[in-house]
Assembly symmetry: C2
Homo-oligomer: 342 residues x 2
């Protein structure tokens, strides 16, 4: 029936020219006369021609697909990053292939292997929480495919990175709590194999120090910063002789966990305990009281990552120099940390 889609050969035949001319006409090659271009294009339209990306990819080696590897998509941070990537990529004629590792190293490996098979033109990734060995990322670079890591990065030579200044975000958040009059500020920190959590903890410590507050080991809770961890962390803190009067959590989920416990115990937020989270998830605005948080400029981060990819792809011959981009986070002050008394 409906013959399989029309090819440049069909167009060539109809116009009595060669396929190469058709190909060049369609891609606006300077050596093709505008007459021919017009003719080709109009016939192409008529015959409902559609460029066969596969064939082009085979010959040219470019699929125009960017592989995006995320820990998970249902975090507003990550989905916003994707949005940023898509905005930039689509305009430049690239498709985006999104995958999620669910924070498992094993999945990450099989996904990267699949991406290499699919011949993506570049990979934009954020490392899974559980990943400790990074050799699969090296595989990408070995194939001369640009790799851009964002947010959860690691030290891989030749990979570009886009991050926010986690240190600064944490510093601001902590200092904000201090300005609100809080004296005993606890911190929920994350797994230390990821730089982001190390940096946040450092920002927390520095802010305390620079404001003359002594760091207390008891007030530092290490965990996976999930909601459940926030709950258990908060419970532990409340058992202290002197419980904290504020918490700076390295994730919104753990902050919510703390909030739940505080509410169950009928404690007042922010009066008894003030809260600040990190990531500025969409629900930060929905909870009661609204949760203060550190916005990670997610959409911008995605845009940057995509732009860097495009840069590195443009001059692929010259071995690209990996770049490091650091964005400035934004502290979103909401009711959970704003004491009216001040």
């Amino acid at each position: 029936m409906s013959k399989s889609s029309t090819t440049i050969y069909d167009i060539a035949a109809k116009l009595k020219v060669t396929p190469s001319t058709v190909s060049r006409a369609l891609s606006d090659h300077p050596r093709i006369s505008s007459k021919t271009k017009q003719a080709v294009k109009s016939i192409a339209q008529q015959m409902n021609y559609q460029h066969n990306g596969i064939a082009a990819a085979l010959r040219s080696g470019q699929t125009h697909i960017i592989g995006v590897l995320l820990p998970m998509v249902n975090r507003s941070f990550f989905s916003s990053v994707v949005k940023g990537i898509e905005q930039v990529a689509r305009v430049a004629g690239y498709n985006v292939m999104i995958t999620q590792s669910n924070d498992k190293e094993e999945n990450e490996r099989s996904i990267i292997s699949a991406m290499l098979k699919t011949q993506v033109d570049g990979v934009i990734a954020s490392i899974a929480r559980e990943t400790t060995n990074f050799s699969h990322y090296q595989n990408i670079l070995d194939k001369k495919i640009p790799l851009i890591l964002f947010d959860r990065v690691t030290e891989i030579t030749d990979a570009s990175t886009v991050v926010i200044d986690d240190y600064l975000g944490a510093y601001k958040a902590t200092e904000h709590l201090i300005h609100q009059g809080c004296k005993r500020i606890a911190h929920f920190s994350g797994t230390q194999n990821l730089n982001i959590y190390k940096d946040r903890e450092r920002g927390y410590r520095e802010a305390l120090k620079n404001n003359g507050i002594v760091f207390e080991e008891d007030l530092l809770i290490q965990s996976n910063v999930k909601l459940e961890d926030g709950r258990t962390g908060m419970e532990r803190l409340l058992l202290l002789d002197q419980p904290p009067d504020a918490i700076f959590a390295a994730s919104d989920y753990s902050a919510i966990g703390a909030m739940q416990i505080l509410k169950e115990r009928k404690m007042k937020i922010p009066d008894d305990v003030a809260l600040v989270g990190f990531a500025d998830e969409a629900f930060a605005n929905f909870v009661d009281p609204e949760l203060s948080s550190v916005n990670q400029m997610s959409e911008q981060m995605g845009q940057f990552a995509a732009k860097i990819f495009l840069e590195q792809t443009k001059d692929r011959e010259l071995s690209f120099i990996p770049s490091r981009t650091v964005l400035t986070p934004k502290l979103m002050i909401r009711k959970s940390s704003l004491k009216k008394s001040i």
Copy 2:
């Protein structure tokens, strides 16, 4: 340097066989002896051979990529569906290419066009809110590419669909409110060009009728069911001579909007006004009081969609019969609608 990756020709040369034998050996063709298969596979491993999907796709016409088109990814409903799709697809050797229309018809069109260029093997989609003309979906089917619509579907012959029983979900939710003793139940309904909202409204009306409650036009609010719409809707309802004592919202976002207004007015939930949303977003558990909602079996929905795709692909020669799958939603009862007094 590192020669561009090894091909089956390289393997063939090393083993003094032909590329065709290598190709067949790698894909476990029955006509190849197990000796040869062993040899080929081991050499392939040694030489770090990686299957070139592009080349294979060109010849075989199959890219092993499933295109997934979503209105947006940062809704837990959609991201869960994606998870379900991925689970099934990856096991079957398919990659998933996710895109988002941001609820715009225009984006939807350009994405579908891009997908067709990329030659996806199938499309799993949920229609954008603003889409009124569906010809671009027809284009997919014209190319003999399987199309599976989920949740937000429309009447397209030859497209398979996977939906939940929105009618039933709404019916259950409304009846639940009635059982809680609510007499004046309002409904936030969505844009009527999408069946899901029509069905939910129908379920609401039927539940009222079957329980001897007269439907009141004043208690039906039409909107885009976003958070802001929930706020304005609630405000309008509170101006009535007899405001409602319960609201069944067709989306969690609009339910949260209503919740915000109620809290600002110091009204009690669920005692003054009980609330039930729809979609069971992750934040339904975080808000205070926790929001009752209708769970849409999202992960399952994705799994079904992917399975249907695989079915239709398996016997691609026989023109596939479009299938209709209807899943049963699950009412999640939480504090926002559970009156202790009962």
